[in-house]
């Protein structure tokens, strides 16, 4: 698996998360269905600077990156192949999402902050959020304008559509179809955020809401680190039990999770 680290956000976590949210999902499905069928799962991780996507298939067991078709080398914030998270809702001089070809003459904002504007209809709640997320304050002044809100929404749709097109292209070449979609979200996003995100994905991917699953970013990260890097973490059968605190210091937020790991001869995370 390709691992790389950008300068913003928590790319180690995020890149690995794609793979992991896939595995998590597969595990859960295996538990639920109890039959190993050919499962392919698309995972999407919207970061503050870039959005990563990947497809995990069970038969054969593999993970593939879904890459942005237009390569952008003008930003040092993320790797070529990742999708830009920048949206352009502030003016009418073109589309609200430009993929990997940014327009430096237009004001942009991360898709991640658009979720805050669209989910918080109340000004008071939005203002409280902005104490935590100052970059979202650019959205506050116009958040009540229906036309502006429509542009914000079209930015998110644009991003997801670009991911969808690349994913479909990969599916066509590799001859499999997407059966479920795993989405990573910050731990503090509430059910309103999930509802909005789910609605957008259903609209763009034309899929059933039942095929969409949410995983918190740190949950996926913990799973990845333990599954793929147990050796580096000195996890071994000699220490059958271990309490671990995972903390993820992203550009956007800090989250944590506790894990009790035991019995390494067994699957560590047997969800």
């Amino acid at each position: 698996m390709r691992e790389h680290v950008g300068q913003e956000g928590s790319p180690i976590a995020n890149v690995s998360q794609q793979a992991q949210s896939g595995s998590l999902l597969v595990n859960r499905r295996v538990w639920a269905v109890d039959i190993l069928t050919s499962v392919s799962n698309l995972s999407i991780d919207i970061g503050s600077s870039s959005t990563r996507a990947g497809i995990f298939t069970l038969d054969p067991e593999q993970f593939m990156h879904v890459e942005c078709r237009t390569k952008d080398h003008s930003s040092c914030r993320y790797q070529p192949g990742e999708f830009s998270s920048n949206c352009y809702p502030f003016d009418d001089n073109g589309p609200t999402y430009l993929g990997g070809q940014p327009d430096p003459s237009r004001q942009s904002i991360s898709a991640k902050f658009i979720f805050y504007a669209l989910t918080n209809k109340s000004d008071a709640i939005f203002r409280r959020h902005m104490l935590d997320y100052p970059p979202a304050e650019a959205l506050q002044h116009r958040n009540r304008e229906p036309a502006f809100r429509a542009r914000l929404r079209s930015g998110l749709v644009g991003l997801l559509t670009t991911v969808r097109d690349s994913a479909r292209q990969l599916c066509k070449v590799m001859n499999f179809s997407i059966q479920s979609i795993a989405l990573t979200i910050p731990a503090q996003w509430n059910l309103d955020f999930e509802a909005l995100y789910r609605e957008l994905v259903v609209e763009v991917f034309d899929c059933s809401p039942d095929t969409i699953f949410f995983y918190t970013e740190v949950e996926a990260l913990a799973h990845t680190l333990v599954t793929n890097h147990a050796g580096e973490l000195d996890l071994s059968v000699e220490h059958p039990e271990l309490f671990t605190l995972f903390m993820d210091f992203g550009g956007h937020n800090m989250v944590r999770t506790y894990n009790v790991l035991r019995g390494l001869s067994h699957t560590l995370f047997n969800i």
């Binding site: 691992e3 790389h4 680290v5 950008g6 300068q7 913003e8 956000g9 928590s10 790319p11 180690i12 976590a13 930003s75 040092c76 914030r77 430096p104 003459s105 237009r106 004001q107 935590d132 997320y133 100052p134 970059p135 731990a187 503090q188 509430n190 059910l191 309103d192 918190t216 740190v218 949950e219 990260l221 680190l225 890097h229 973490l233 220490h239 039990e241 271990l242 309490f243 671990t244 605190l245 995972f246 903390m247 210091f249 992203g250 550009g251 956007h252 937020n253 800090m254 989250v255 944590r256 999770t257 506790y258 894990n259 009790v260 035991r262 067994h266 560590l268 995370f269 047997n270 969800i271």
Partner: protein
């Protein structure tokens, strides 16, 4: 009603025999347990109970991106003052932020360039902005205050598990964790609460840029 406002999650795993719990917490500190699958782990419930009352926040805003944003706003404000009212073009703003983004791991508290000012020279319009080192450091501390507060709180709670004879480990990841300030603060918290030095994921996964 407040449950819908703040739905934070907290997962505990008892891996062997699988018991997974999702705990939803409200803003007033109340917790709701949701069992995700078959309960086998005998100890799980007690571990969860130990940790649940104090985990009223699963995450907080703040990080290197907020630092960059605040510094950017300061620079743009300086220009507004300098040009008596006209705003910088989005392109110039982007140039300043990109420049800072490249330098930010070296600037700020505990970093190699902790005593250097942030200076950026624009060609068009011709203008030079200088943010004093002390201000750069203060903005960094402001942006990371909330995450570090939460981190210290979590490390303190976590250290209370130490009496059970089970080894404890802290794993830290994320872009902001690459800044020396965050690393130094976390190391200090671990020392304060007598925990082993935290493991930073970039140390064992590696930087790939």
């Amino acid at each position: 009603m407040s449950y819908a406002v703040c739905h934070t999650r907290f997962l505990t795993y008892e891996a062997q025999n699988s018991g997974t719990y999702d705990i939803l917490l409200s803003e007033d500190g109340g917790a709701k347990f949701y069992r995700m699958n078959k309960p086998h782990g005998k100890k799980l419930a007690c571990t969860a109970q130990l940790l649940a009352p104090v985990t009223n926040q699963a995450g907080v805003g703040g990080g290197s991106e907020s630092w960059e944003y605040k510094l950017g706003q300061l620079c743009f404000g300086e220009y507004l003052h300098h040009s008596s009212g006209s705003e910088l073009l989005p392109r110039s703003k982007r140039d300043i932020l990109e420049d800072f983004n490249v330098k930010k791991r070296k600037l700020g508290p505990d970093a190699p360039w902790h005593d250097r000012d942030f200076i950026h020279e624009l060609q068009e319009p011709q203008w030079k902005v200088r943010i004093h080192a002390s201000q750069v450091k203060q903005l960094c501390k402001d942006a990371l205050r909330q995450p570090l507060l939460l981190a210290e709180q979590q490390i303190k709670i976590f250290s209370q598990l130490g009496g059970r004879g089970v080894p404890l480990m802290i794993v830290v990841s994320g872009g902001s964790a690459k800044h020396p300030y965050v690393q130094e603060q976390l190391k200090a918290y671990c020392e304060k609460y007598r925990l082993p030095v935290p493991r930073f994921s970039h140390d064992f996964i590696g930087f790939f840029e």
